[in-house]
């Protein structure tokens, strides 16, 4: 008798239905792949970037997926280091989401550089003063760690698990997973921070520049903090979407609430720090360079003060308050509103720290710079989403991702 490829005791849709959906998402993926090859073949003239917008949609996407992928390191930290055993039911999925986010980030980086074949120069000719160097090193090593964390989940596929060597390898990897989780936490603190530092050290760009501690601008700490706060929200969001799509309960409600509670407190403390940082920047840092707060939010068609209010209040303080209150977490609608707003908040933060930095004029005789991405940029930004959906489809179908699934759906 042959071993089924689908994990024991769970129900999955028919192969035909699965293949159909795979083809639909695969078509989107191919569109992105076509755009990707156009960019590699013809160069970055395929984008809407220009000499004012050296950083644009891709760098935003990079920063955003890494922040959202922060759920992997922070959930790992809570599960293996702090000992929150309840989170073991969601840690596999957090790792897979993290793996998708980080592999996407590396792919986008490979697209974004003008000379992709020289990408290795960042390691070979490393400039220790550059935040981007630190990002490249930590990102690559952490991706390796995520791959190691993902490997035992893959090896639990029934067909692979039958092979004695792989079975024992998987078992032993599980045994030492705390070591990798700790390594991941250490690396993540640095590269999440360095990504914040990328903008914060730009002392020629008053919109981005922040003072800080020793060599690290305040954005270094704020980026790590926000990724730790919002990463788990993204894990909750994707898990809930997976539940909706599959029509199954995959994780206990209590686990969602615990993760949301921790996220809420992280978000609330982050928002307090972020508001203090914004106030100091507006009152001291920017005026010292000749700018008032409103100089950055007027005389242009896009970046009004609304974006600051949206980031700090609507998608910052509001979700934080929802998630720290018991009533907010126990009401499903409120919980999901809080989670979605928090995710949008971190997306806005990364957007302004990349795009608005480029847009704001510096010399009084220059105007705001506006930017419109091309379809190639949009397609290659959607490409990781299609890739992520396919990987999730495959993982959900063939791997025992959710240990509570059997128990939660035994009645159906």
């Amino acid at each position: 008798m042959t071993t089924p490829a689908i994990p024991e005791g769970v129900k999955r849709c028919s192969t035909g239905k699965f293949a159909l959906w795979l083809a639909v998402v695969g078509a989107v993926l191919l569109w992105g792949v076509y755009a990707m090859f156009l960019v590699w073949y013809k160069g970055l003239n395929q984008t809407g970037m220009n000499d004012a917008y050296g950083f644009a949609l891709w760098i935003w996407a990079d920063l955003t997926v890494i922040a959202l992928g922060g759920g992997a390191f922070f959930s790992g930290f809570l599960t293996y280091i702090i000992g929150k055993k309840e989170l073991k039911s969601i840690i596999n999925y957090a790792v897979i989401i993290g793996f998708i986010c980080y592999s996407s980030a590396l792919l986008i980086l490979a697209l974004d550089i003008g000379q992709p074949l020289r990408g290795w120069f960042i390691f070979w000719h490393a400039n220790v003063h550059s935040m981007l160097t630190e990002v490249a090193f930590c990102l690559s090593v952490y991706f390796a760690v995520l791959t190691i964390e993902f490997l035992p989940i893959v090896l639990e596929n029934p067909k692979l698990d039958r092979i004695p060597f792989l079975h024992h390898l998987s078992h032993n990897l599980h045994e030492v997973m705390a070591v990798f989780a700790a390594t991941g936490v250490f690396l993540s603190f640095f590269h999440q921070g360095s990504l914040g530092g990328v903008a914060g050290v730009l002392y020629g760009r008053p919109f981005a520049f922040r003072e800080g501690l020793l060599i690290w601008p305040w954005t270094f700490f704020l980026f790590t903090w926000s990724a730790a706060a919002v990463g788990p929200c993204f894990t909750v969001l994707i898990t809930r979407i997976t539940e909706k799509v599959t029509g199954k309960k995959l994780v206990k409600q209590a686990t969602f609430r615990l993760l949301a509670k921790i996220s809420g407190w992280m978000l609330l403390t982050y928002m307090i720090a972020k508001i203090i940082d914004t106030w100091y920047w507006a009152a001291v840092t920017a005026p010292a360079k000749g700018f008032t707060l409103m100089d950055f939010y007027t005389n242009n068609p896009v970046y009004g003060i609304w974006i600051l209010i949206a980031e700090l209040v609507i998608c910052g303080l509001l979700p934080a308050v929802i998630l720290v209150t018991r009533k907010g977490r126990e009401n499903n609608l409120l919980l999901m509103t809080g989670v979605i707003l928090a995710v949008i908040g971190v997306c806005i933060n990364r957007w302004v720290m990349v795009l608005q930095v480029m847009a704001a004029p510096l010399l009084p005789f220059q105007d705001w710079y506006m930017y419109m991405p091309t379809w190639q940029e949009i397609a290659t930004t959607i490409l990781p989403i299609a890739y992520g959906i396919i990987l999730i489809m495959l993982a959900y179908r063939y791997l025992p991702v959710f240990p509570q699934e059997k128990e939660l759906n035994s009645g159906s």
Partner: protein, 273 residues
């Protein structure tokens, strides 16, 4: 020992541009294109996609006719000394692959095209938009290829380039001085192409630390200022203007602030260096 010999070691090559003299003719741009093998496209209407190592900006005082006044501001790379004047210019410290470097003997910020992998972090860091990206493969009309300067390498698609103060001219002048048994090069021996081409003599170039060089005196003039001084990038390109409205166009001022206050602050900074 002559004053010239006292300044043999560290130089700070810089430029002073007299905006009262600049007519905006663009000869500096043309000379730069020819000298540095800067490619161009058929359609150069989008200036943010144009490769130019020096670009002339037209600014006005914002008043209606007949009170309108116009000023032209040529803007090359500012060759910033960076905060604390230690060579950590905005672009140099961020480049992850050391593809741009601060040359301590001359103070010139270099760009190593074969090492640049096109991440464009330096462009994001530069407040002057002095850095240009090769969005396309470089090309010239066939007959023009014969006139490319053999002393300057052409750049490939996907890398950043910028004004080098015609560093290859410095290398040539240094070689000549060596062959003639001199440690020093004379002021006239090393002049960038834009400075030589300026028909009104609005541009002056030399060692900002050498009292015998013209730029030494000009950069210390009451009319001298730099672009965006409040950012503390410490550029080595100075401008001269007798008009206060032009001075106000060079930096950002809060209500009640004036360019004069800033000039005093900068003088203290330069003197302490």
């Amino acid at each position: 020992m002559t004053k010239q010999e006292q300044h043999t070691r560290t130089k700070r090559y810089g430029m002073v541009i007299d905006l009262d003299r600049c007519t905006g003719c663009g000869a500096c741009m043309v000379a730069c294109y020819a000298e540095n093998n800067v490619p161009f496209k058929k359609n150069e209407s989008d200036k943010m996609l144009s490769l130019n190592w020096i670009r002339v900006f037209k600014v006005d005082n914002g008043k209606p006719f007949p009170d309108t006044e116009i000023c032209y501001i040529p803007k090359p790379c500012m060759q910033c000394d960076g905060r604390h004047m230690e060579g950590h210019s905005p672009c140099v410290s961020v480049c992850p692959a050391v593809a741009t470097d601060y040359d301590y003997p001359t103070g010139i910020v270099s760009q190593i095209y074969t090492r640049c992998f096109g991440c464009r972090y330096c462009m994001a860091a530069c407040p002057y938009h002095a850095r240009k990206f090769n969005w396309w493969d470089p090309s010239w009309p066939a007959e023009m290829e014969k006139y490319l300067n053999p002393d300057v390498s052409v750049r490939m698609r996907g890398v950043v380039e910028k004004c080098s103060f015609c560093y290859h001219r410095y290398q040539k002048a240094r070689d000549k001085a060596y062959l003639e048994g001199r440690d020093e090069i004379y002021e006239h021996e090393y002049q960038p192409a834009c400075v030589e081409a300026c028909p009104t003599g609005a541009m002056t170039f030399g060692d900002l630390l050498n009292p015998e060089h013209e730029v030494y005196k000009l950069s210390r003039s009451k009319k001298a200022f730099r672009l965006l001084e409040k950012l503390h990038t410490n550029p080595k390109v100075y401008y001269l203007s007798s008009k206060s409205w032009v001075r106000r166009k060079a930096d950002n001022y809060l209500e009640g602030q004036s360019p004069g206050q800033q000039n005093n602050a900068r003088k203290t900074e330069t003197a302490s260096h």
